[in-house]
């Protein structure tokens, strides 16, 4: 079974959805592991790979891109609604 989620850097705690993954669907990782999708994850959007607490760093490309503004469970969608990216 081909993975439907890609991890760019081994340090990352988010993966990138390679197709639309519906809530309740399987997030299939490159190493064969599977997670339950807690939200609709649009293709090319980010999915959390490990539970994170409010204020934790989100890493993509092996670099910190932002922090989560609330506790988030693995398998959930990561985007502007739960990242501290909106302050100008």
């Amino acid at each position: 079974m081909n993975p439907n989620t890609f991890i760019i850097n081994s340090k990352d705690n988010v993966g990138v959805a390679l197709e639309d993954i519906p809530r309740g669907g399987a997030i299939k990782l490159p190493d064969g592991a599977e997670l339950l999708a807690l939200a609709d994850i649009g293709f090319s959007h980010k999915v959390l790979l490990k539970d994170a607490s409010q204020g934790d760093d989100i890493l993509k490309y092996g670099e910190v891109i932002a922090q989560v503004t609330q506790d988030v469970k693995q398998g959930d969608w990561i985007h502007i609604h739960n990242l501290n990216v909106n302050e100008d």
Binding site: V16, A66, H79, V85
Partner: protein
Amino acid sequence: MKELMGYERADGTFGIRNHVVVLPAVVCANGVVEAIAREVPEVVPLLHGHGCGRGGIDVKCHTTILQHICRNPNVAGALVVGLGCEFVSAERIENMSAAAGRTIKRLMIQDEGGSQKVAAKGVEIVREMLAEAARQEKKPFTPDKLVIGLECGGSDAFSGVTANPGIGKASDTLVDLGATVILTETTEMIGTSHILERRAVNEEVRAKIAEIIDNQEKKTVEVMGPAAKLAIAPGNQDGGMSCIREKSLGCITKAGSRPIQQVVDYAEIPTKKGVIIMDGPGYDAESITGLAACGAQILIFSTGRGTPLGFPIAPVIKVASTGRLYQRMQDDMDINAGIVLEGGTLDDVGNSIIELIERVICGEQTKAEINKQNGILALYTQTTSF
């Protein structure tokens, strides 16, 4: 890497192509350049729309571009055609290349008595240059003589996931072999200054990285006004980008992970090897002109929407971000980075880029070369004409 073979130049560089170019110093000389190229189709005409009617900063920049294009390692010989009253000096272009030991000749339309006379002289000159180039034999060279320019254009949501990180793997391999890779598009570094600064080889390089990114952010706001948010904000949040840093990381990942050795101006020839940053615009056509002027023999160009853009004197390797694009635009795409969407790895993409570079050095034509995607030279301008 396999043994590399190329054309040795007097300044110690090696070309992987052996082009004879005909270059107008000014737009007014384009017709003569075209006439020469019609008569001798083996030459590469480098048409452009500049050379006059602009102020100091652009005259200086355009002179540098044209000087350095004539010195690109892939150029065996160059004929510069000037008019006689333009701002960009054909003589300065000639003198600089000659000082570097490169084969260059100059003709001035006003001195020679008009278009037809100057074209006839030009035809003789380039025929001699072509004969000389044909006699030149390839010699082995080491990877530290390779300069590879990195570019992205017509990006999609997967450019930063498949193609650019795959190019980054190839960059690491090339740099570890002693080669030089040049990252540019300063606009697409906005938000990642601290990350690139951390990779600087010394304090001087660190400070320069901070300075060019800060200046580019200000310039983008100045030029685009309220629309700057489209360039320096995530742009397309529907595509899954949550912040400018994430978007820019997808661009800078092309340069891999090795230390940054030097920051050069647009079209300035680096004096260091390894990872180099060229300060320059995000506009891809002007960006690749700058990279070729820096001395890049090959350009690696990622795309997601699909662009056919090539460059007249340097092979452009097109890396498609998805298999869908690769299939749809097979005429124009060289590498399918979309294999990572089907279980392949970024290392696989990087390896296929390295293998293609080896074949291109051996003479295999890239799709842009096959399609003769030569177009015109797009020269970076910073002021308006008057």
